[in-house]
Amino acid sequence: MALRKFAMRTPGVVAILLGSLVAGSAFAQSPTYGVGRTPTADELRRMDISIGFAGEELPPGRGSAKEGAQVYMQKACVGCHGVTGIGGLAPILRSKLENAETLPVWKKERILPLRAPSATIVWDFINRGMPVGLEGTLKPDEVYALTAYLLFLNKVIPEDQVLDRVSLPKVKMPIGDQYGKLHEFKSNTPRLEGYPY
């Protein structure tokens, strides 16, 4: 409103002012084609199901292993993954090895809630990919609870620990930082320095 009044009185000055603003952003990078539309913040929030290590995108909600054990039955996870994560046709969710507790994580099977470097990865996959045929229908509380249950089955967290958007990214996973990291990608560069093949 103030700008409009100002503009009515001194159009020349505003023209210069606006001109310099436009020029400034053009210098930064302005759209060349001007095609498409700007998604709303709400659209992006609903669409953005990618959860980073920091868990910034996690929605509000909470759940514990006890609740998760119930969801595991209610949502028929048990049908494919078996009772307590073993015995179904789908991938196992906890170690089958008898002496699992004494083994380092890399000596155990490739199990998502056991080997993942962050609990957020477990949450993300359950949220986007489960249950088969009804993907994307779980509520945040259910995803938190299932994540807690699977982490409890793998002895990563105690049964009564409550997971939410604050505590989930802080869960200490057994793998620590004992996993390979990607080097920075450079175009026209061999896959691995010193590897002739």
Binding site: E43, L44, M47, I121, K181, R191
Partner: protein, 428 residues
């Protein structure tokens, strides 16, 4: 057709046109004219009788191949998870490289892989959108029509699945190498779209995400995205097939197949690496093995003669195959016909292009004695395809028959040729 024949045909057409104009039925006249004009009249009992394919609406509208050509895709690996499974889900399906000619894989024969075993989403392109957001100045949502308003590129690129590993148990080249395919892809460079959105200096990675039920997602370095990634809507001159991600997918040239997100719905530009389920699949203990797991190494394979084929007897043959590299352009292919003792430079059948299959060939006179043939390639950034023995040596581990190459397997593939011309797996 010489000019006399042309003239006589023109006369006939004129004549039947005149008859038609005069109101007399032309059926008899046209029938006679046709019988005279054809080289192979389909008259029953005639010495020259040959079956004809009757034109059908379907055949006219969208062509089919000959019924005598029956090359098909098969599940990969043989004996593994079937596609379709009992629910109709598709997992891994290999392309019949043993029958391939040239470098383009027909869209109908392109290999298929899905994130977890998925149904094929039946995406309505009018409803589908692509959204780019995250570390950009201006998030953008595009309809498919809007995407096509951006300047396009058309490039030849291969895609290869990380599961394309050869071993001694496989029978033919479809089993050993059929999880690679090459198409001409058309779309918009991702760099064009990212510039339109205004990339922030904090942008280091992006996550590409599909619209299928599992919402398959991959993390890719922003350098790669700005380098040569394509948001592709076209394949081999037409719209993408649903099995290849209709209506839009991302091409990440030279990188393993899982990065080429199909049914692309979202690109999230990020500051940090995101470990999606796909990246969890790549998790290893070793930085070195991980580095051998995104960009495909230099690789080649002989497709003729190859496993389960039989060469009829001594004589001249053109050994033919495919070579490619995820690091750049194939520079050279060599063929050995004596089990790797000597190597001969092969010729190219087309101009090698970046991250694309090239067809190579080597003329060979077989004298009828048992031998082993193999090929190896070198790319333009100096990477060379190695024998398994050489790779084991580099890793300083003892070489054994069932040696598993760390990372993606781009090792040399040998084919054994027996005295009777039968070709079998040289790793067996």
């Amino acid at each position: 057709m010489d000019s006399d024949q042309k003239n006589s045909r023109r006369e006939m057409l004129k004549a039947s046109a005149a008859l038609a104009a005069s109101g007399i039925t032309t059926m008899g006249a046209a029938g006679t004219a046709q019988a005279q004009a054809h080289d192979h009249p389909a008259t029953p009992g005639s010495e020259n009788a040959s079956p004809m394919i009757h034109g059908s609406k379907e055949q006219i509208e969208y062509g089919h191949r000959s019924k005598y050509v029956n090359s098909v895709r098969v599940q990969h690996p043989i004996g593994g998870r079937p596609s379709p499974d009992v629910f109709g889900k598709v997992f891994h399906v290999a392309s019949p490289l043993q029958d391939s000619v040239g470098v383009i894989t027909p869209s109908s024969l392109h290999y298929i892989a899905t994130t977890r075993g998925s149904f094929l989403p039946d995406v309505d392109p009018k409803l589908h959108t692509l959204t780019i957001h995250g570390e950009v100045d201006r998030p953008l949502t595009l309809t498919m029509d809007e995407l096509k308003r951006f300047p396009s590129v058309t490039r030849l690129h291969f895609i290869e699945c990380a599961g394309n590993r050869h071993n001694g148990k496989q029978m033919n080249v479809q089993d050993t190498h059929g999880m690679t395919s090459c198409s001409e892809w058309t779309g918009v460079l991702l760099s064009t779209l990212l510039k339109e959105c205004g990339l922030k200096s904090s942008a280091k990675w992006f996550v590409s995400e599909g619209a299928e039920e599992v919402k398959g997602a991959s993390s890719i370095p922003i350098n790669k995205g700005m380098d040569d990634c394509i948001i592709a809507y076209g394949q081999n001159g037409e719209a993408l097939r649903p099995q290849q991600g209709f209506p839009v997918r991302i091409m990440v040239p030279g990188w393993e197949g899982i990065f080429h997100t199909k049914f692309l719905r979202r690109i999230k530009v990020t500051k940090d690496f995101y470990m999606n389920y796909n990246e969890f699949g790549h998790l290893t203990q070793s930085d070195k093995v991980l580095a051998l797991g995104e960009q495909i190494g230099p690789k080649s394979v002989i497709t003729y003669p190859s496993g389960t084929q039989r060469i009829p007897g001594p004589g001249l043959y053109e050994i033919s195959g495919l070579a490619w590299s995820g690091g750049g352009t194939v520079k050279m292919v060599e063929v050995s016909t004596d089990g790797g003792k000597t190597w001969n430079r092969a010729q190219f059948k087309n101009t090698p292009q970046r991250m694309a299959h090239v067809r190579f060939a080597y003329p060979w006179k077989w004298d009828g004695t048992a031998t082993t043939i193999m090929s190896r390639t070198t790319d333009d950034i100096g990477q060379k395809q190695a024998l398994r023995e050489e790779i084991a040596d580099w890793w300083k581990v003892p070489f054994e028959r069932d040696y598993r190459v760390p990372g993606l397997d781009n090792s040399v593939m040998p084919w054994k040729i027996a005295g009777d011309g039968m070709v079998t797996n040289g790793l067996a």
